[in-house]
Amino acid sequence: MSERVAASEHLLIGLPATGKTTFLAALWHLVESAEIPGTLRLSKLEGDREYINELARKWQQCEPLPRTPVSSQSLVSMRLRDPEGAREIEVAIPDISGEAFRQQWTDRFWSRGFDKLVTGSSGALLFLHPNEIVEPFRIDQANLLVDAAGHASGRSEEGAKETVAWSHELAPTQVILTDVLQFMHYRRGPGRPMKVAIMISAWDLVESEGKTPQNWCEARLPLLLQFLQSNPQFWATRYYGVSAQGGDLDQHRDTLLRHVPASKRVRITGPDAAEHDLTAPLRWLFD
């Protein structure tokens, strides 16, 4: 007999095109189909499923998933149970546009509705995409690389030409995400710590580097990692590499479509995560 466990809401955090919606679509397919033994599976259908069903359909057909509109807060609710049936968990995950997170950094406010989500959430999944990271490269570093490559460097005699004035939009990814997490920290207060699963999307693009997801994060987003590790009393973290789509749709669509069952397209690496078990981060957030 199932033991009912209280419902929880989890935030999906991430800048645009970092794989949040793809994760949701693949997760829905995985829990609904129960194709992978040992993963959480759908216990009962809940609420309006039009939005997530449409996303899952596109995922199954290896179609590109549309970008989430900035004004959308589509809520995806799932009642899941573990394979042994020992417990049920009810998870609600709002699919929020990545642009909305960028605007929080730029505009320095968010809506009262989002504030309730932040203060009420049990945990968060923070998405990063290897191809969408803006790094804080300095001019002197770039010039050294150019010089080392044997070029006469791009420096012109008359100095700078067309330059760009500072704006929030130019900030490095790790700075934006750190400030967004700081917002959450301040709004929740020190007495309400938060678990955050760092999800590195399109892991297939970088797994040949031979790094663990945490090491990869340390190399590409060191400021964010320092921030999380320096505040262990507030942030509990785990790092996962995720290929929710399974590969590049443009290059490998036919191969991806041939996977039987389709859930085996999904790959994840991280603590307590079996190869295709996309529910592992959720289990950790809920524990």
């Binding site: 900035v70 807060q73 609710s77 320095r108 968010w110 330059t163 130019l170 790790q174 700081q182 921030f227």
Partner: protein, 347 residues
């Protein structure tokens, strides 16, 4: 249900909003509910509306601005929490802002000299400070924006964790215009207006290395530093509670552009004279060579900042002489109070 922003609904099964359109999950104002959706806008597709256009003003929760802090905030906060105040002083163009920008930038690549980045209430302000040295500016050579004269909001916050001890350390840095220090040198009244100096744990005075290698300007370097310290001491803005660091900035230029080591010799002379004049009037007097953003390869990026940071983060004579902190009963005055104080600055 229709409101001024269009049809709204709720995706939660059983929500009363679906039937009576009045309450959503117990929220008096349906817009407060995190499950609320605007039916007209939830369709997947292009939507370029900004937060400013999308979220009505009354429905916004303000977050800290991330701008530079003002002096009043710094004084207020430093009374209540154990933040170390670092006054970075020096003449125009001596490298004060570049020093601060490079220090912040050092954490962009990982922990720095045993300290790990733990947060900042002024991240956008730091980012703007670094912009002209980043490739995002599309410049070919790095530059530093000139500090606006008379701007009182010129304080930055950096929170660090000492990796070995896991102690938390909060630093508040000034980035005031060189003209302001000129006024401090010239006028007792102006000197007394620099109230933050009295609270400073460290006063770092920059001696411009570029001027040290010029026969014409090197004497002015010594006299500027001497006048500034004398003004601050005579007005009792600094004293036995203050650690003073004299920083020979742009040391790469001194090293590389000085065939006869005349600049190095002159720096030694400056050190000797300042030590003789001031060492018994301040808590600690120290001399360091720095090159925050070298223009040649004689020293690495951030040369000397590692030692400097260690002193700033670990040493405070001011704090060792005051009572343990008490939180002010006065109402918060600024965003730093509102956001910073509920986020304990000392572990």
């Amino acid at each position: 249900m229709t409101d001024e922003t269009g049809d709204i609904g709720c995706r939660r099964e059983g929500c009363a909003l679906l039937t009576d359109g009045v309450r959503a999950s117990g929220y008096e104002d349906p817009e407060d509910c995190p499950s609320i959706v605007h039916e007209n806008s939830q369709r997947v597709g292009d939507d370029t509306r900004t937060n400013v256009e999308r979220i009505p003003e009354q429905n916004r929760v303000s977050l800290h601005s991330g701008l530079e802090l003002d002096a009043e905030t710094v004084l207020n906060v430093s009374r209540d929490v154990w933040a170390k105040v670092i006054l970075i002083a020096g003449a125009e163009g001596s490298g004060k802002t570049t020093l601060l920008a490079s220090l912040y930038d050092s954490f962009q690549r990982g922990p720095f000299e045993g300290f790990s980045f733990a947060g900042s209430l002024t991240l956008p302000a730091f980012e703007r400070l670094c912009h002209l040295s980043r490739i995002a500016s599309l410049r070919e050579t790095p530059e530093t924006e000139r500090t606006p004269r008379g701007d009182r909001r010129r304080y930055f916050h950096l929170s660090l964790t000492d990796v070995s001890s896991e102690d938390r350390c909060d630093l508040l840095f000034s980035d005031l215009a060189g003209e302001q220090f000129r006024l401090v040198m010239n006028s007792e009244d102006e000197c007394r207006k620099l109230a933050v100096a009295r609270r400073a744990d460290h006063v770092a005075v920059l001696a411009d290395g570029q001027k040290l290698i010029s026969l014409e300007s090197r004497a002015a370097v010594l006299s500027d530093v001497r006048r500034l310290l004398r003004s601050l001491l005579d007005c009792e803005m600094i004293g036995g509670q203050t650690v003073v660091e004299v920083l020979f900035s742009k040391w790469d230029l001194v090293k590389a552009g000085d065939q006869n080591a005349a600049g190095v010799s002159y720096a030694e002379r400056v050190e000797e004279e300042l030590r003789h004049t001031f060492s018994d009037r301040v808590g600690n007097l120290r001399f360091l060579k720095v090159a925050a953003r070298p223009q040649n390869d004689s020293v690495p990026f951030g040369y000397g900042l590692d030692t400097l940071l260690t002193h700033w983060a670990r040493e405070s004579l001011f704090m060792s002489g005051v009572e343990a902190h008490t939180v002010s009963p006065e109402p918060p005055l600024s965003e730093f109070d509102r956001f910073g104080l509920r986020y304990p600055m000392r572990a």
